[in-house]
Amino acid sequence: MHDVELDGGATAATPRWPWVAGLVLCALGVADAAYLTYAHFTTATVLACPSTGFVNCAKVTTSSYSRFLGMPVAVLGLAFFVGMVPLQTPWAWRSQWRLLRAGRMAALAGGVAMVVWLMYAEFLALHNLCEYCTGVHAITLVLFATTLFGTLATTVYADDDGDPGAEGVDAPSGVAAPSPAARPTGPQPAGRP
């Protein structure tokens, strides 16, 4: 657990697992997408992948579905994971800045939509599977799940003034209470005078 600063200088602990999982998955995603990008700009035959029957990387990576709006999807995938790295750092997870948290989820939702489209291309249009592409797809889906639950686990809710029926809001940076999941277990440091 690490601390998130609250209003008045108080701190509350937040779980480590969202950023640990996020950074590990991003590292795997960068490696996989970088390999596919290298293969795209050299030759698909560098892919250590069987080309027998259903599993056929070359058929997938040289297909018309290997580009999206004119951009190679391998490059888009690499840019996605590289761009996701700063959003998965401990600093980013400590931040309660709504735009950052919403932007991170929106980017991952876009990633999931792209994965569904590319899976459609593999399974329904080409009837061939690229195992490296599938690796990127799996990493994206797992990253979406860990980020979604991580966002819930690290969100600090505003004090809703005691009205249980009222809608709480995500607190802006440094406001109010830590979540139960982020609740410190020991004595808290005193606030500022």
Binding site: K59, F123, P180, R183
Partner: protein
């Protein structure tokens, strides 16, 4: 802040209705804190349920795509490419240039009668098509296309006299086309190595007619130029397969007669391969004759050099195609 307030919530002053109703002191009201904590817990559980629902929805969508894809793949198994066994490829490539020449000489469809295999001519010829300093053979076709299916047999045979094929796979053209289900190679994912020629293939659609490989702008320009009159009869313009032999000669469509092509329907790949090898049928003779046309034009590109000790270009000392009128 006291240690008996583990939530670290800095409660606001007791102006809320909960606080006044229960007459809890402004700070440290246990009942109010309990309600807040309970509310937050409920809200968190609700959000987690929503998040779980979102994840579940994604999982369902992915599962449906995978399940439908796998079931359709298994039901149309003919579209799956299988590697061509080395022995089978060797058997196909065993047809000698002399056999090709004999087949060409005896063929009712020998080159001068073919309107679809023509030399480009000198007047409208663009610069030679090259790649890596070697004359480039450009093939543009599609996996569903039955005429591409027939032509690939001749191409694989002819080009084997100038280089080496690897990673070739077998497919069958579309079963709902006419002719139907022609066993053949696909050039997708294949490699061709040669000191004399380079080879580029564009399989534009799958057996299911889905987009596969996009031609480059330069390839599309060659298709537009040469897959038209005067090189191709106006009624056949735009057809595939289209084969450009380094801008020296081009071919649009199948290079052998439709009777032999029709005979290929629904045969197995290995059966056609054996007919090509032993020349025992009209199929084998037609494919060998078309391969001879290609070899004759390839020899023009390589300056009479081949990869079989000169035998190929010796059998075909001059190109078998001539420029069309006006080219």
């Amino acid at each position: 802040m006291t240690t008996d307030n583990p939530t670290a919530v800095p409660p606001r002053s007791g102006t809320g209705k909960g606080a006044s109703a229960s007459k809890v002191p402004p700070r440290g009201g246990q009942a109010r804190k309990g309600r807040q904590s309970s509310f937050r817990a409920r809200r968190r559980r609700r959000n987690q349920l929503v998040a779980g629902g979102v994840i579940g929805l994604v999982v369902i969508v992915v599962a449906v795509v995978v399940a439908v894809g796998l079931s359709s793949s298994s039901s149309s198994g003919a579209s799956a490419a299988a590697p061509v066994p080395a022995a089978t490829l060797t058997s196909v490539e065993s047809v000698t240039p002399d056999v090709m020449a004999a087949a060409q000489a005896g063929s009712a469809t020998k080159a001068p009668n073919l309107p679809i295999a023509v030399a480009v001519g000198s007047q409208q010829a663009p610069a030679a098509l090259t790649s890596g300093g070697k004359p480039e053979v450009l093939y543009m076709g599609a996996e569903y296309c039955p005429y591409c299916a027939g032509e690939r047999w001749a191409m694989v045979l002819a080009m084997s006299k100038f280089g080496t094929w690897s990673n070739l796979h077998s497919i069958a053209s579309a079963a709902d086309d006419n002719p139907a289900a022609i066993p053949t190679f696909t050039f997708l994912g294949s490699s061709y190595t040669s000191d004399l020629l380079s080879f580029t293939s564009v399989e534009m659609q799958t057996v299911d007619r889905k987009p596969l490989q996009n031609p480059t702008a330069a390839q599309q320009a060659l298709l537009s130029k040469f897959d038209n009159a005067p090189y191709v009869p106006s009624g056949a313009a735009g057809g595939i397969p289209f084969v450009d032999l380094a801008n020296s000669s081009v071919q649009d469509g199948l290079g052998f007669n439709s009777t032999a092509e029709t005979a290929l329907q629904h045969q197995s790949f290995s059966s056609v391969a054996s007919q090509v090898a032993n020349q025992s049928s009209q199929v084998g003779g037609s494919i060998a004759a078309e391969a001879g046309v290609l070899v004759s034009n390839l020899c023009k590109l390589t300056g009479g050099k081949d990869a079989v000790g000169g035998a190929a270009c010796k059998a075909f000392p001059t190109p078998l195609t001539q420029p069309p009128a006006g080219a």
